[in-house]
């Protein structure tokens, strides 16, 4: 396991790169879902006000 994590000595560069790349993937998804939730609640509020 420690050999796998070490990645022939490049682990200190490799794992942060994967964390950054996949961290941005997760963050991007969360931001998109939040953006949709905000747009939905704004639209619902506007519909309620107009009815």
């Amino acid at each position: 396991m420690s050999e796998f994590l070490s990645m022939s000595g490049y682990g200190k560069y490799l794992w942060p790169a994967f964390a950054l790349g996949f961290g941005i993937i997760v963050l991007n998804f969360i931001m998109a879902v939040n953006s949709l939730a905000r747009a939905k609640s704004e639209a619902k509020r506007r519909l309620e006000m107009s009815s």
């Binding site: 022939s8 790169a17 790349g21 879902v33 639209a43």
Partner: protein
Amino acid sequence: MNWTWFHRLASPPHVYRFARRWTPWFGGGAALCMLVALYGGLVLAPEDYQQKDAFRMVYVHAPTAWLSMMVYTTMAVAAAVGLIWRMKVAHAAAAACAPVGAWFTVAALGTGMLWGKPMWGAYWVWDPRLTAELVLLFLYFGYMGLRAGIEDPGKADKASAVLAIVGVINIPIIKYSVEWWNSLHQTPTVMKMGKPTMDTAMLWPLLLMFLAFALYFATVLLIRLRAELLRRERNASWVREVLS
């Protein structure tokens, strides 16, 4: 030729429903492909004879860099369609692309820096490929800033579309910079004429990761597009129907 499909793309309720239906499928496919590609890239693929295990960086760096360019191209095409055919949905799609592309450019630059340090001895060099990728990030920022700076949505759509179309010139510069100029960055190994120079055991996880990232982009784009359509069409009757 039947152009009905193209005309339906101009209909916000049709596109909204299409996006809602397909998002889980694209998302599920992306997650599945990503997991298999990660296992293939980190565990099954043999180490490189020169770079050893550092080459595994390719499984996160290459797809993010490729996507940063693909998203910009998609954004420019959508902006051009919006400008030529005055299609509001196309402008909404272009607007939805920008933040996703900007994040992928940040990821490409960050992972590239982390790969550059052990290979070149420096996190950053003013190499043509790296510099052109940085220009791409500024183009995304410029596009988003321009949209945010103009209050009238119609004018914002047109001005930002022109910027997106002009900026697309940077994409071939990024792609061919390693061939046109002396560059520290390696030349293409997968996206090249003829056979890729990568071993099959290393190649299939990379190709699968490309597919995973493309599906992921489709997922996030469709979610952001729905949000954009709801904001733009908030007074339309179809919004009441889809939200009830």
